[in-house]
């Protein structure tokens, strides 16, 4: 009787955890293991079907790191990610502050800023690529009306990366707006009133009340944005395919192209690049954990 009560709750506890554990193993641990497994073997299409891929250790990683395209892709990834999230955050914050004071039509306008989030990616990315078309795009025809020459947004090595960054910023603003806006709602109004009585101007109030109190929300927004932006494939793939040349190829695009973009899939190299991306995201995750812990201590 006593024994049953001792072991009963423990088994019940396991039973309750089991579905979650099974879910985690099936959908997280196994795919991750498989990805590492792929990157350590040489999976040609033949080996993929026959299941006899040779173990090559870190050769795939060495190939990736020594490839000409790696430097370009790494640089593009850094520029794409940092510029995207910096601009998304700045614009999102500006809009959130703007919408903080309710004014007529503000809910409607705020809702309209969510449109990029609601549209399927294929629709918005295709629309961007039509708008930025060199010969018939609306952007060039507007610029042309002001006397500017034709800009080859998506087809010139100088502007392709900029173009996809602009589109990606537009896509990311709603996310930043929503999170920062709800963060702003949690800052007590009386702080602003008190500061105003003490003679603080709008900039001082923003600088000394909004920014410090919004910090935890800002950090999580930036971090999520970073992890999300690191692995963006769809916008770039639809707009430029990572081209022309490799000028808008990020690590994620490179990985996707190796696996699915050619007639000869190279799953091993694609997985190796994918693992590098996971590592990068992981590093930033740890940075976040560290920052949060430091905050809790203080």
């Amino acid at each position: 009787m006593r024994r049953r009560t001792a072991s009963g709750p423990r088994w019940t506890a396991f039973a309750f955890i089991a579905p979650l554990a099974a879910y985690l193993v099936l959908f997280y641990a196994y795919p991750l293991y498989r990805n590492i497994d792929l990157s350590l073997h040489d999976y040609t299409p033949r080996a993929f079907v026959q299941g006899d891929a040779a173990f090559v250790g870190t050769a795939n990683f060495a190939d990736v790191l020594s490839s000409d395209a790696f430097g370009t892709a790494l640089w593009n990834t850094a520029v794409f990610t940092l510029v995207s999230i910096a601009a998304q955050y700045a614009i999102g914050l500006a809009l959130a502050v703007f919408f903080r004071d309710n004014f007529p039509l503000s809910p409607l306008l705020r809702a309209m800023f969510l449109v990029p989030w609601l549209l399927p990616m294929i629709v918005s990315a295709s629309t961007w690529s039509w708008m930025l078309n060199s010969d018939n795009g609306i952007v060039n025809s507007v610029l042309g009306a002001f006397g500017a020459g034709q800009v080859n947004w998506l087809t010139s090595p100088e502007t392709a990366l900029t173009s996809v960054i602009i589109a990606n910023i537009w896509l990311g603003i709603p996310f930043n707006l929503v999170i920062l806006y709800s963060g702003l709602q949690n800052i007590p109004k009386d702080l602003y009133e008190a500061a105003e009585l003490d003679g603080a101007g709008p900039w001082q109030r923003f600088r000394h009340i909004t920014m410090p109190l919004l910090r935890p929300v800002s950090v999580i927004t930036l971090l999520l944005g970073l992890v999300y932006t690191l692995k963006v494939v769809d916008v770039i793939w639809i707009m430029t395919l990572g081209g022309p040349g490799n000028t808008s190829t990020t690590l994620a695009i490179w990985s996707y192209r190796r696996a699915f973009g050619t007639g000869q899939p190279d799953f091993s190299q694609a997985a190796a690049v994918g693992n590098l991306l996971i590592l990068m995201a992981l590093v930033f995750g740890f940075v976040h954990l560290y920052l949060r812990r430091r905050e809790e201590w203080s």
Partner: protein
């Protein structure tokens, strides 16, 4: 609805009892739904073989990946219609049966068309039809510019025609230079037409071909958007009526007839005249290896139904753009569609992309080639530098 879905699942697995008379069929024609002529034709071939065919359509690139995945899991379909450059890749994995094992005679098939499916002297499939590229022109624009289409016989006369078209204020030519297989497909007639060889991407001939394209872009004869154009976009541009020429394929014949302006076709010219070799397009019918080899009997009947002379003509007419791959088929096809003679001619002169013993190396070489096209057209590099690099890439990729 639910029951049907479950039945669909089990029958695509291996050898359950219901699966015995349900044969799985994959093709890359999602535009033809279950009520289409094509779907009915597939179903009819199944009935003739005494089985039911369950047809699933995929996008072309997705089809190759799905096939690899299915082969790995041992759940490959009975029949796949596969884009011809992918045949050697799949054959190399050992997942396809040879036509000899199937007892199918491939001697009637035109050699240049069958070549894409031959690996080490063994045919791993039968082309169900072929298509290729040619140069469509807008008669109104050429009339206005005073260009006789028959005078366009080599690169110089074509560039000359483009110049005269440009003087009338129209756009010259549009083609697909996109960074995918389509880009290589469209560039190959110029590449081969210059006398270049896929084993030697940085030859002076190859540089000349790429400089021809780049020259048109720089002179404004071709729009900058060719760098991102797919073949569909090219056709949409041509249908606006603003372009004198468009490089496109047999599959647009019907659409060309319905255009708002009279459309003509000439072969793609080689550098010094004559017809440039164009790459063959089109699908092969292939049969993946099955654990249960009693299934092959019905599969053979299905494949035969699709590849008899009458069957090939029927496929050709169902699609309207497929030229039969056998002489008998072509003659029967021409008897019904006399005006497609130039296309039959073009297909006879066409060349498989994986031919010349390239096989599974072709996709790697092709990627290097389309990157060079992209780099040059976008102005990132000049043609020589881009092709030097492409050759180095191709060499390191193919080992």
């Amino acid at each position: 609805m639910c029951a049907a879905a479950i039945a669909g699942c089990t029958s695509s697995g291996q050898g359950t009892s219901e699966a015995d008379d349900a044969y799985t069929w994959w093709d890359p024609y999602p535009q033809h739904d279950d009520s289409s002529d094509w779907a009915r034709r597939v179903a009819a071939c199944g009935e003739e073989a005494g089985v039911t065919i369950e047809r699933t359509a995929f996008d072309t690139t997705a089809l190759t990946n799905q096939a690899l995945l299915a082969a790995q899991e041992g759940t490959a379909p009975d029949v796949i219609l596969l884009d011809n450059p992918a045949v050697s890749t799949l054959a190399d994995t050992g997942m396809l049966t040879t036509m000899e094992e199937f007892g199918l005679d491939t001697s009637e098939i035109d050699d240049n068309l069958l070549a894409a499916g031959v690996v080490d002297g063994q045919a791993y499939g039968v082309p169900i039809g072929a298509n290729t590229l040619a140069l469509y022109y807008n008669e109104e624009i050429l009339d206005e510019a005073g260009v006789d289409p028959d005078s366009v016989t080599d690169w110089a006369s074509l560039t000359d025609a483009l110049e005269r078209v440009a003087e009338t204020g129209h756009q010259g030519i549009t083609f697909a230079g996109i960074g995918t297989e389509e880009g290589s497909f469209q560039f190959l007639p110029w590449f081969w037409g210059a006398g270049a060889d896929l084993g030697d991407l940085d030859s002076p001939e190859a540089v000349e071909a790429l400089e021809l394209w780049k020259g048109w872009l720089d002179a404004g004869y071709a729009p900058n958007s060719v760098i991102t154009n797919s073949q569909n976009t090219v056709w949409e541009q041509f249908l606006t009526g603003g372009f004198a020429f468009a490089e496109n394929g047999t599959w647009q014949v019907n659409s060309a007839a319905e255009a708002d302006f009279p459309v003509g076709v000439i072969p793609l010219p080689g550098r010094d005249g004559g017809v440039a070799p164009t790459p063959t397009g089109g699908e092969f019918i292939v049969a993946p290896v099955q654990a249960d080899d009693t299934r092959y009997e019905a599969t053979t009947r299905i494949v035969e139904c699709m590849t008899t002379p009458e069957g090939l003509v029927e496929t050709a007419t169902t699609f309207a753009y497929y030229v039969p791959p056998t002489t008998a088929g072509q003659e029967a096809f021409l008897a019904e569609n006399e005006d497609l003679q130039p296309w039959v001619e073009a297909v006879r002169n066409a060349k498989g992309r994986t031919s010349d013993g390239l096989g599974t190396d072709y996709p790697l070489i092709s990627e290097a080639l389309w990157s060079a096209v992209q780099n040059t057209l976008s102005g990132a590099m000049d043609a020589e530098e881009a092709l030097d690099r492409a050759q180095a890439e191709a060499e390191s990729a193919t080992g």
